[in-house]
Amino acid sequence: MVGPKSREQLVGLLTIAPALFLILALTLYPVAYSIWLSLLEKHSFFPQERFIGLENFFYLWKDEEFWTSLWLGTVYSIWTILFQIILGVAAALILNESFVGRGLVRAITLFPYMVPTIVAVILWKWLLNDTYGVVNYWMLALGIVRDPISWLGTDHIMLSVIVMSIWQFFPFVLLTILARLQTIPPELYEAAKVDGASAVRRFIHVTLPQIRGILFVVILLRSIWMFTKFDTVWLMGEGAGAGRFIRTLPVYAYMRTLTYYQAGLGAALAVIMFAILIVCTAIYFRMFREEADIG
């Protein structure tokens, strides 16, 4: 006997089952497996494996390259997140005003976020090319520098990948903040205007409290994504010779696994990355408890 109640339960569970199965089998299981993997010494392609406990983590503790990659990853994340948020919010405020051609400006501004990373990377490598790049051409023509700058060389590659990443990802902040700005009732601004509040004061007292919740979520998401960003950094560094100077934690994890074939060490790096994220997220939620509630 199947009653209507249990039948409903059954159909409900059956319709969620495919999604649940895919997520469990293809996302959660791999993540759990990589924790196990971090305790093994294992070649990336061959089946032999040997349990070595925390050996991989001890190795990394003494590994200078690991600390460098952690430092480079932190530098990269902090600068890119900071400027994405500032530029994204500023751009959203501009595009929330009404002016001629606003729709077109909105669409064009989102382009960089929509194109494949490989396209963004080849565009920037071409713009920044030391001999034929248009950036160096302009800087020389305007007399800003005397000699062409080697943008993808050891001294400037970090700056280049940071600027390029801000360009590529700030439209996400823009889009999200803009969606929220559109839901703020115009009466709030009118009331503030009647009270004689300046544009800056209107931003601080009307806009900011309204976007605080969403800003909390955006900063969280962007931080997670920038700290684990692989393709942009890897593709910018590849073939540039100076790739070593932007070898962030995700890139280092990839190299351990697919250049040195040390899957166990690679997994240990992924686990460390994940642990750092969890700790930072927990601290973040504590620091901004109020925003977390409205977000």
């Binding site: 495919p18 999604a19 993997l37 071409w126 684990t228």
Partner: protein, 280 residues
Amino acid sequence: MNRSRNRWFSTRGLLYGGAVLLVLQAAFPFFWMISTSFKPPSEVFAQPPSFIPEDPTWDNFHRLFTATGFLTYFWNSVIVSGLSVLLTMIVSAAGAYSLTRYRYIGREKIAGLILCTYMFAPIMVVIPFFILVKKIGIENTHFALVLAFTSFCLPFTLWLMRAFFATIPMELEEAALVDGAGRVRALLYVVLPLALPGIIATSIFTFILAWNDYIFTRILITSDELKTLPVGVQDLFHSSLIDWGLIMAAGMMITIPALLFFLSVQRYLIRGWGAGGVKG
């Protein structure tokens, strides 16, 4: 009077100045890509550079289509992205319907769990995923890629679809059921049409993710004839003298489909974003 007019002009001026800057920073790199892709090799390296090609040519595109595997990569990208969109939409529509229309034990727990997996970045998943795929024996297949993209998109698409389904009043469905329609017909004729913006937002998100992906394809695909565009184009770099004209032509050909897809459904995207994409 005069003072307030001046102030109006200065804020308007700032606004338009900002808008112009936004357009320039986004559009110039693309303009430069288009310009370079139509230049013959001698002009690509000319100093000072010409902004509009003086001697425009299709030569770069011709070489791209005939001398490289571009068309194969393009076709692979279309197949993989298309199938990923299809599978993601079916699975997440069914899941979202379940999460909003049925009551069962652990429903909220499941929803929470799904949301949590949104935190996992590709770099943390892809290596164990690769080993798993090897164990099942589907490495180096498009099937593995489609599975990877689908499972990777699911947390977000389910969340988004759930937000859309939740806004559709139950009464509409109940009315259809009273009129004698079955549950499936009520779903097909009442719920799905109303959830269309959500379905479209989901499909754009999945398409762009699959079309743009680099890391999964790099690791899961080894044979040249199965590569998708981003990996295929990266490999064009592997020659001693980089052929910028050819690479810019390739860049343009990858960008156009993604852009067309995005522009045709853009207004739904912004709506979807506001409706629950990030809020929640």
